[in-house]
């Protein structure tokens, strides 16, 4: 095939850069639109600060989750893992009064719970999605059994100290930087993306699916652990009704952030961050515009389905059949 004089608009639409920039554009447009609708209430500095703080938990968990999604697998237990981890870590803190214990238990438990999912999937040869459905149910039931109807809280002054110490920003920031390096600058991210593109080919290229899936779950586990600490700091307490739609929010964040739900080549670690901000802007914007919360849930569901559908469509100009 010969190369024709490029149509500049088509070229831009087909470029990889465009698919990377588009989610940021969507975030800006949504913010501006809701800014206008809410007559500036959404875009004032105080609201923007709340949006960022709200997005941090989802951004952290979904940044870790991006490693699993890149391999073409869908994990449904990120939310339940985070909340159970937060519950137990907070109980451990209350028992010891040590912040070190809080962090160690949170990250350790996050990693252990996610590793169990990974091992069950690879050892039994069961798809990640099915294993994580079971884990999600199991972990939620466990939290219910531990807490019953009660909540577990962190002393107010400790929460305030952590908020003022910018622990939320530092925790997320460190994790995000490490994830960016692992995802884009080492063989971990590349291998996971290649597994997502064609796992049979990846195996024949010497990329072990089991090994890299385990690594992905370990990283996601760290994300759940840090996300658990951030959830504690943000809310001050954890109960069975804390962040009930965290998993859905993470999945929605990833696809809104430009990641293909099927993983592979179009996987970016920053998707979780951009998407988390977009999810919160969408939630807050609709709430401030007076939309009922049930309808907001429905809108989020429709948005998720629409994005998944769109990500299945082949870019028109790209895949030419055989010549």
């Amino acid at each position: 095939m010969e190369k024709k004089k490029a149509n500049p608009i088509k070229k831009i639409l087909e470029s990889r850069l465009f698919s990377q920039i588009m989610p940021v554009g969507l975030l800006i447009v949504l913010t501006l639109v809701f800014g206008v609708i809410t007559k500036g209430r959404l875009t004032n500095p105080a609201s923007l600060k709340i949006i960022v703080e709200q997005a941090l938990v989802v951004a952290t968990v979904s940044t870790g989750g991006a490693f699993i999604f890149a391999s073409g697998n869908v994990s449904l237990s990120l939310g339940a893992t985070t909340i159970l981890t937060a519950t137990l870590a907070l109980m451990a803190y209350n028992a010891t009064g040590s912040l070190v214990v809080l962090f160690v238990v949170a990250i350790g438990l996050g990693v252990i719970l996610m590793t169990i999912s990974a091992l069950l999937s690879t050892a039994l040869g069961v798809r990640v999605m099915y294993v994580t459905i079971v884990m999600m149910t199991l972990l939620s039931a466990l939290q219910q059994a531990i807490l019953g109807g009660a909540t577990v809280s962190m002393p107010y002054e400790v929460v305030q100290a952590l908020v003022q110490g910018k622990v939320m920003y530092i925790g997320f920031g460190l994790f995000f930087v490490v994830c960016v390096v692992l995802f884009h600058f080492t063989d971990i991210g590349r291998s996971l993306r290649f597994i997502g593109t064609n796992n049979l080919c990846a195996e024949q290229t010497g990329i072990s699916k089991s090994k890299y899936l385990l690594i992905a779950f370990l990283i996601a586990g760290v994300g759940c652990g840090i996300g658990a600490v951030l959830a504690i700091i943000r809310g001050g307490s954890i109960g069975t009704s804390t962040l009930p739609s965290l998993n859905m929010d993470c999945m929605l964040a990833l696809v809104l952030g430009g990641m293909s739900i099927f993983g592979g080549s179009k996987s970016y670690v920053y998707s979780g961050v951009v998407g988390a901000l977009t999810v919160v802007v969408l939630n807050q914007g609709l709430l401030m515009a007076g939309v009922d919360s049930t309808i907001i849930q429905a809108i989020r569901g429709v948005a998720f389905l629409a994005l998944v559908t769109v990500s299945q469509v082949r870019p028109k100009g790209l895949p030419a059949p055989e010549g």
Binding site: M1, E2, K3, K4, A6, N7, K10, K11, E14, R16, V181, F185, T186, D187, R190, S191, R193, F194, T197, N198, L200, C201, A202, E203, Q204, T205, G206, I207, S208, G264, S265, K316, G317, L318, P319, A320, P321, E322, G323
Partner: protein
Amino acid sequence: MADQQTILEVIHMDKNFGVTVALNDVSFSLERGHVYGLIGENGSGKSTVSSIIAGMQTATKGDMTYKGQPWKPTSMLEAQEHGIGMIVQEAGTIPNITVAENIFLGHEKMFKKGPFIDRAGLTNKAQALLDELGIKEFKASDRTGKLDMQMRKIIEIAKCMYWKPEILIVDETSTALSLEGRQFLYKVMANQRKENKTVMFISHDLDEMMEHCDKLTVLRDGVIIGTLDKSEYEPNRIRQMMVGRELKGDYYRSDYEGYSDEVVLTAKDVTTLEDLLCLNLELHKGEILGIGGLAECGMHTVGKALFGIEKVLDGEVRVKDGTVIKSPRVAIDHRMAYVSKNRDTESLGLSGTIAENIASTGYKVNAVLGNLISFKKEARYVDKQIEDLQIKCAGKNYMVNTLSGGNKQKVVFGKWVASDAEILVLDCPTRGIDVGVKASMYKLFTEMKRAGKSILLISEELQELIGMCDRILIMKDGQVTREVMRAENPTESSLIDYMI
């Protein structure tokens, strides 16, 4: 205006894929009772034009007439129902259903009994079709997934023939078939001609094109270069029309250079679950060792077993330092490479970019400061292969499925050549590749051999085995039954005799 004899006309057809022009002002007509050959390099537009005729996609510009009426099919099913059937290049069957269900895929309503599908009726009808076509290798009730690639291709031919097509389009089908399979296909094509129907045949095998086609149309870069009648066929002239430059004579090796005594890979009594039984072979440094045989002889499993993909139940595969190859990772760490026959499903990440595919073998070598990958080194790693192998692409960040078959194969080669593998296990590496790319691949094999690399070449093309290999192992029933040396100057017929 089309006459009675003309069945299809393509008029000033253009097809663009984004910025890439696949067809540029293509016009031709097909008459009844002829076998037309469409030939050209990979990416020349052959499959594009045939897929538009068969309803797989639409043209950007231009018209078609079929039986004198405007023709603009919206799907393959519509084209099939109107008498245009196409056997596609890549896999066109679904593995988890029966042969019968594949044959009537999309037409299940024909067997509707109330709210249910009459499965028995569907299977009986499919079996009757297989009997009519003389297909005895499998039954209509068999599960498709358990059949090999060749048999699945035969299902596609049967599926197409059920509709008694006025125009049968055969796109690169013969490359997936063994000698017996090809004979079956040629018989089907000859019957079409006899019944005053039309065949449009696409293949890279110039010999079979010249033998079976009444006319040959040559495409290059989406443009028709010319159409030749049978009396005008001359291989060098056709090749020149295809590639746009003179490509004379034989492109195989002409030397009789030997190889080192040093054994780099040994298979000892290798037995696998289904195909191999006590297989023994030795590959030497600087050797091109060929493996050939009839379908079902187990030769494709040899490649997988040597590379650690297929589980070896008994026996072992060792490299020269004594390491037993038990997985692809161990094989790659010992500088082995494997190119599968099933390129699109096993050797490439089609929805990944060209760069990602080539770079997939180079994570270690492109790392700096431990495990950090240098983008600069990686770019050089990829660019070198695109340049050296002359991969025709709009850019390295384009998806592999935007490439033609030959260029996809070059990407597969690129990733292994870049890894600087010493032992290459190649299963049908020139399948579906045009003459120009083939020539460059053979040149590359020869250069690799001279550089001391070892190649195990599994091939269904006897000429390729004869032309390129230092030794040929003939396989039957999962074992090596004959060894033929290059110095013996084997012929195709002598090899077939050994295979039988």
